[in-house]
């Protein structure tokens, strides 16, 4: 670990825009990032009812290209990248040999032998050498390039995202399916548009050269304003993703939790013959896990937070990994690791909230699911 105080915070290509908009800036994963502009509740609600604009340029990008690229990606990630067509994206895990998370990531298939991995900002320094050494142990000489500084990444999320973005591009946005992408011009800037996001809402992520980021940001802000789009910060991003039950690396999963414990069996390519952590995950699939990530609602008036201890029948049984009061559902919800015997919806739990035991109950995830598109 580096000493956060001694290292200057990094700035995304949109940093000046955030400051000009009056955002409250906070350190996040080594970056100086906007946590809120008009308020977390207002921003959260805008994304659920109209649209929100997020700077996610702090995310890292790593490209793997050349003969053997698929083999390398298959070796280092849990999901089955062989299923990807060019233009398609997959959620996956960068796994340790123990089946735990080095990181979670998106895998874009850019070309027949060209993959782009989008990784967490706070993990770039750890992931890049890991990816390079693990990819090259499988495919000696394979090209692994950290292109994180080359891109600005902007997320437009919400039911009106498509309508807003379509005013700025000739790309046929309705033709882009969930977890697919297309190349083209956005506000006159050549880039990539994917139908992806971290909010549980319909929406897009736009990747453009770093130097062009602020032009696209300003254009989306201006085009979206009449339709209710507002800039949204990391605070709303966190409450939105939690409502949608999307895991956050460092909270809900890390190098001590396996992909199955995080209840993400759907991102494991069970038919793959080999990948890092495969044996552990197959053994857990057959023999069961010792703990499992579940969703819960706090029944009493109180808010469970990351790190709070979870009890059942007076016994400490687990720990809260994420928790908040969500603006849209207006409930205190969270995720926690508990023994599998306590994972069934309806199971009564208690959470120790600063010395007071608050009643909670296991509920199915996701907490929030948007209506069908169109």
């Amino acid at each position: 670990m580096t000493d956060a105080a001694s290292v200057p915070l990094k700035k995304t290509p949109l940093h000046a825009a955030h400051v000009a908009l009056g955002a409250r800036m906070v350190p996040f994963g080594g970056w100086d990032m906007p946590v809120e502009y008009s308020g977390i509740t207002a921003e959260h609600m805008a994304v659920r009812t109209a649209a929100g604009l997020f700077d996610v340029s702090h995310m890292g990008e790593v490209e793997i290209a050349g003969a053997g690229a698929l083999e390398a990606v298959q070796h280092i990630t849990s999901n089955d990248a062989a299923k990807l067509e060019v233009g398609q994206i997959q959620y996956s895990a960068l796994t340790t040999p123990e089946g735990t998370f080095v990181d979670d990531l998106l895998v874009y298939r850019f070309g027949p032998s060209h993959y782009l991995l989008v990784i967490n900002a706070g993990n770039i320094d750890k992931d890049v050498p890991w990816i390079a050494s693990r990819a090259q142990e499988k495919v000696p000489g394979i090209a692994v390039v950290n292109s994180s500084d080359r891109y600005a990444l902007i997320a437009i999320q919400g039911p009106r995202a498509e309508e807003i973005l379509q005013t700025l591009t000739a790309i046929d946005l309705p033709a882009i399916k969930y977890y697919w992408f297309a190349h083209g011009e956005i506000a006159g800037i050549r880039g990539t548009v994917s139908r992806t996001g971290y909010t549980g809402e319909d929406g897009f992520e736009v990747m453009v050269p770093a130097a062009m980021g602020s032009r696209v940001w300003d254009a989306v802000l201006a085009a979206g304003k009449p339709m209710g789009l507002i800039p949204a910060g990391l605070g709303a991003r966190d409450t939105l993703r939690l409502e949608a039950s999307m895991r956050l690396f460092g909270n809900d999963m890390d190098e001590t939790a396996t992909v199955l414990e995080a209840d993400l069996g759907w991102i494991v390519g069970w038919k793959k013959e080999a990948f890092l952590g495969r044996d552990v995950l197959h053994a857990q699939k057959a023999g069961g896990v010792a703990r499992k990530l579940v969703g819960f609602e706090v029944v009493d008036r109180a808010i469970a937070r990351h790190g709070h201890t979870v009890y059942h029948d007076g016994q400490a049984v687990g720990v809260v990994t994420s928790g908040t009061q969500t603006p849209f559902l207006k409930k205190a919800i969270g995720m926690a690791y508990v023994p599998p015997a306590l994972a069934a919806p309806g199971t009564a739990l208690e959470v120790d909230i600063r010395g007071r035991r608050a009643k909670a109950v296991v509920v199915p995830m996701p907490f929030y699911k948007r209506g069908k598109r169109g």
Partner: protein, 125 residues
Amino acid sequence: MAYPTDLKYTKEHEWIRLEGDTGAVGITDFAQQQLGDVVYVELPEVGAALTAGQVFGTIESVKAVSELFAPVSGEVLEVNTGLKDRPDDVNSKPHESWMVKVKLANAGDADALMDAAAYEALLAK
């Protein structure tokens, strides 16, 4: 924002509005801005004894949990139960959204607190 001159302020960003030997206690506009959207306020029961400078409750925003510090010592006479359903009142009208009303144990406690000008000077530092 000009801070009301009928309030006394603490360096922990609470205010108290005195009426005779009782006082209503809340948090300042600066405090609510720092917290962001308030979603939950945990307050003591009527009859509880507060000690000046000690924690008497907690306030949670979407992002953060903060403690509430008593500006004076005394007994809780009344609790603003309306904040259970409308915690966001603390954001929209911080200087009207009192949390507890206290019967002061020592009338002199309030003399040690800041007036509006002194509080604004503290914020300007």
